[in-house]
């Protein structure tokens, strides 16, 4: 017997609304399968089951807001021969307020979902015109006739998390200029031989270098919970994705130290696309052990980030910028990036932080080993 509960998708999440069931009693589910869609302040999230088995009962109706930890469904083992119990909630097809089947795979961008909430539009009733049928803000506004409202759940969620961080976490800050020329030349030489769809971006090298550093100094991936540091379950790096029209999310990319750089590039591409179109999974919201942010796209040379509780650290990258750099006795042109570390002084000290940044630098001097 297993219970499927409303997950916590952030330190400040207290409740969520079940939007839709994607299974019905009697269905067999695999571990990791998405079985429900939950609405939070950060938008709609696909929630996976952490257990495999057969759905015995759905306990919460779509449209219901429940506290984090509430049991949403019961599953029993595959081998358990017991019949499916009479469900408290009928299968989606039999409920009085069923969600149209066509919404099972519909994607709604977080901005569109926010607008729909503001305008009182039911996104399930819309036909999307975005990529792969995604529902866009235009679709929502067309359906509503559009009257703006001050409600902004995502802004409030960011405000709550960042305020808590600055209230509770004693940050310290370090930064380090890194000569990125060897890594970029290595990447560009490789990209020259690859079709465009297989080319790497510098962000992938930076992400992998941070993963190497977390592997060597795992305290920077720990979480501060109940007065002690809890080691990371894996090197799952949160990657800050701006939503272009306001707000940001930090989806986790799991096991960033594993696989080839091409594989990591694909996972980064996938997570970024789903963060913007809607369709992140609960585990991607909840599993990040350290956040990586980059503001270099617009020319910002450095960023000192605010830690996402309960994480211990955030690593920031600025723009990759050509600079005069001293190598031996010569001044040479090099492409340089400023990397920063904001870290929790309850968990780590500055000397360890300096070693962490040095480890990132060393990893980037040997890109062939990344």
């Amino acid at each position: 017997m297993a219970e499927f509960r409303m997950p916590s998708l952030g330190a400040d999440m207290e409740a969520g609304t079940l939007v839709q069931w994607l299974v019905k009693p009697g269905d067999r589910v695999q571990r990791g399968q998405v079985i429900a869609v939950v609405e939070t302040q950060k938008g709609a999230i696909d929630v996976e089951s952490f257990e495999g088995g057969v759905v015995e009962a759905l306990l919460v109706e779509p449209g219901t807001e429940v506290p984090v930890g509430t049991t949403l469904a019961r599953l029993h083992d595959d081998g358990d021969a017991r019949p499916v119990a009479t469900p408290v909630v009928a299968a989606p097809a039999a409920t009085s307020t069923p969600a149209p089947a066509s919404t099972a795979t519909a994607r709604v961008s977080p901005r569109a979902r926010k607008r729909a909430s503001e305008l009182g539009v039911d996104v399930h009733a819309l036909v999307g015109t975005g990529p792969d049928g995604a529902i866009t803000t235009d679709d929502v506004e067309r359906a509503a006739g559009s009257k703006p409202s001050p409600a902004d759940g995502m802004r409030q969620a960011i405000a709550a998390a960042m305020s808590r961080s600055k209230r509770e976490i004693p940050h310290y800050y370090l930064w380090h200029a890194i000569d990125l020329e060897p890594a970029l030349q290595w990447m560009e030489a490789g990209n020259e031989r690859l079709p465009i769809a297989a080319r790497l971006l510098p962000a992938v090298l930076l992400l992998r270098a941070v993963a190497v550093a977390v592997k060597q100094l795992p305290e920077f991936g720990s979480a501060w919970v109940d007065g002690r540091a809890v080691p990371p379950a894996g090197i799952h790096l949160g990657f800050a994705v701006s939503l272009r029209t306001g707000g940001l999310v930090n989806p986790a990319i799991h096991d960033c130290e594993r696989g080839t750089l091409a594989d990591l590039m694909e996972r980064l591409r996938d997570v970024t696309a789903r963060a913007r179109a809607g369709g992140l999974r609960a585990s991607e919201y909840a599993d990040g052990v350290l956040t990586v942010t980059s503001l270099g796209e617009l020319g910002t040379t450095g960023v000192l980030g605010v830690i996402h509780p309960p994480q211990t650290a955030i690593v920031g990258f600025g723009a990759i910028t050509p600079r005069a750099w001293v190598v031996g006795d010569a001044v040479v042109p090099r492409r340089v990036v400023e990397v920063s570390l904001s870290a929790d002084h309850r968990v780590t000290d500055g000397v360890r932080g300096a070693a962490f940044l040095r480890t990132i630098e060393r990893a980037l001097q040997h890109p062939e080993d990344l």
Binding site: A134, N191, A197, R244, L268
Partner: protein
């Protein structure tokens, strides 16, 4: 086939990448990253789409030559395969 059709095709691809943007207000001579707040992943995805649909694969060393819509249209239009 003209530069106008190339521009229309590229705007369609851009619309898929930034579905929430109003492309009618796009200034052609300003870098797309500034106009649409697209990042390097969006930009690469755009160039992948250009390669797939318009059959012009832009090498990484030329990325700096195609930063604005006008520059991208001119680059692609000059290299686009023509029927016959």
């Amino acid at each position: 086939m003209t530069a106008d059709t190339t521009k229309a095709a590229i705007l369609t691809l851009l619309g898929r990448i930034t579905p929430d943007s109003d492309l009618s207000q796009l200034r052609g001579d300003v870098p797309l990253r500034d106009e649409l707040e697209i990042d390097s992943m969006d930009f690469l995805n755009l160039l992948i789409a250009v390669a797939g649909e318009l059959h012009v694969e832009i090498p990484e060393r030329d990325y700096g030559k195609v930063l604005s819509l006008d520059a991208l249209v001119a680059y692609v239009d000059a290299r686009r395969p023509r029927a016959g």
